[in-house]
Symmetry: C2
Subunit: 300 residues, 2 copies
């Protein structure tokens, strides 16, 4: 069944110790879709403004990414984010953010997308995430991301969302904020009580943790020697994970583990260059080869 | 061949969110020796003061730990450390430290210990580490630990030590300090250029990283749900690693990986209670079983 992502599409300006890029393509849906498209066709739902450069999404040319769910909204402006990693390569410092079109109503899901089986709700207001999710009647797996803003300001709506999704992906700081637990395994177990069947905690350079009723699984990050730009690593991770899952048709613990490892490997290519450049240079063969290398390295 | 550790023996006072313990046994050599003794007999070299309670080392009763290298020095006082984890369970805040006997000359290695094949030089002044190491003529593997104090204040002596040892174990902050590299793989590669054949970077709750000329290996920590007292986790990790290595007689990448995994598992028991209480409750069978569980979990 097909995979659909709804999330942000943005124009980024990024500064890292390796250099600076202005006006490059970014946003959670973009990284997710590119990453997932190594595994399966992807449908993208999102909104850009009237100012969006015509060639911003040319990165998807030739890939099985259906951009038919991207609305170009008249009178609105595209989401823009400017971030710096000069202080800490592991944590973006937001220099400027202009939500623009993201602060308006959600994108409408096209009729022909409504049979999607695998849904990824990238981070946005949990009420919008619920509204989008409600449109899909036949979905097999719905996974959402969230962030500190909603955990702090919209706990009731987030609580309702958590009861409706199968999986939650969030980072370590968000997991701790949501549960007030410092220990990440304990935090993830608390999240399970809020509704999802599995929780994936992204720990950046330290890898990830997955907890379900029956399983606790930890995985280090792929040991990258040169991190050029960490932007989109988490969304690429989720894209690789969901892209692989959509090809499997099962969510057994073993399948989830493999999916997490694919997410880890795809993200290792994302951070090897600015914006989407790392992923654009990557082939599925390379991903499979590094995945096997990673699997072998983990086998002691 | 037999395993020998030289390091600190101390009286600790520890405060964590789980409670407080006063006057408990601690020190790098103590945690190392207990951890290693699950695998192989251990010889301990160190010094305590005249004030050392007669029963401080009763924890080793019935274990294959030879305390014949522990000098009780007249007129000197035992090393004491008081630490708090109330602020951050991952990083000890030193409330008070009295080096006492540790600020004096090193312990003398008994004649009958000089045929030890596996040497672990726990953290102390790198000149003393070199002096101790020089006594062993037939050693097969020498591994040292170090700390920020020596990296900052004794770079020349530390540089000489690094040329004489086979392996270095240090934590992430120390690796970064020593090499001025933020990326840990790059930092470890720089350490290799300073002499050791392998470098193990301990990342606390995030696991460990091992780099040699031919290999990069990352391992997460065992996902512990209840961390009671992290004191000694790093030394227990080193003890489990060296204890296992001493039984193998080879340092192949595969053997090193297994050793790191044993170190990880032993440390997971250390942090489950105060001081040595977690290890004292643990059996080799439990370690082997958790090791297999860990190995299985890593197999995706």
């Amino acid at each position: 069944m097909s995979l659909l992502v709804t999330g942000s599409i943005g124009i980024d300006t990024i500064e890292t110790p390796a250099g600076r890029r202005e006006g490059v393509v970014g946003g959670s849906a973009i990284y997710f879709a590119y990453a997932a498209s190594f595994f399966t066709p992807v449908r993208v739902v999102g909104v850009v403004g009237e100012d969006c450069p015509a060639d911003l999404l040319d990165v998807f040319a030739g890939r099985e990414v259906d951009l038919g769910g991207i609305e170009r909204r008249k009178g609105s402006k595209t989401f823009r984010w400017s971030g710096s990693y000069l202080k800490d390569l592991n944590e973006a410092l937001t220099v400027q953010v202009d939500l623009n079109v993201l602060a308006e109503r959600a994108a409408k899901v096209p009729e022909r997308f409504l049979d999607a089986g695998y849904i990824f709700l990238a981070n946005t207001h949990p009420a919008l995430q619920q509204a989008t999710l409600a449109a899909f009647k036949t979905r097999r797996l719905a996974v959402a991301d969230t962030m500190n803003l909603w955990i702090n300001n919209e706990p009731a709506e987030l609580g309702k969302l958590l009861k409706k999704i199968d999986g939650l992906v969030l980072n370590d700081a968000e997991a701790r904020l949501l549960t007030q637990k410092k220990n990440l395994v304990a935090a993830a177990r608390d999240v399970l009580k809020m509704g999802p069947k599995f929780v994936v905690v992204k720990k950046g350079e330290h890898g990830c943790l997955m907890v379900s009723a029956d399983d606790v699984f930890v995985l280090p990050a792929f040991p990258a020697e040169a991190v050029i730009d960490p932007t989109g690593a988490g969304d690429s991770f989720a894209g690789g994970m969901m892209g692989y899952l959509a090809t499997q048709g099962t969510f057994s613990p073993a399948t989830l583990k493999r999916a997490l490892a694919f997410g880890t490997i795809v993200a290792s290519y994302t951070i090897s260059d600015f914006s989407l450049a790392g992923l654009q240079r990557t082939t599925r063969d390379q991903i499979d080869q590094r995945w096997l290398e990673f699997k072998g390295a983990m086998n002691f």
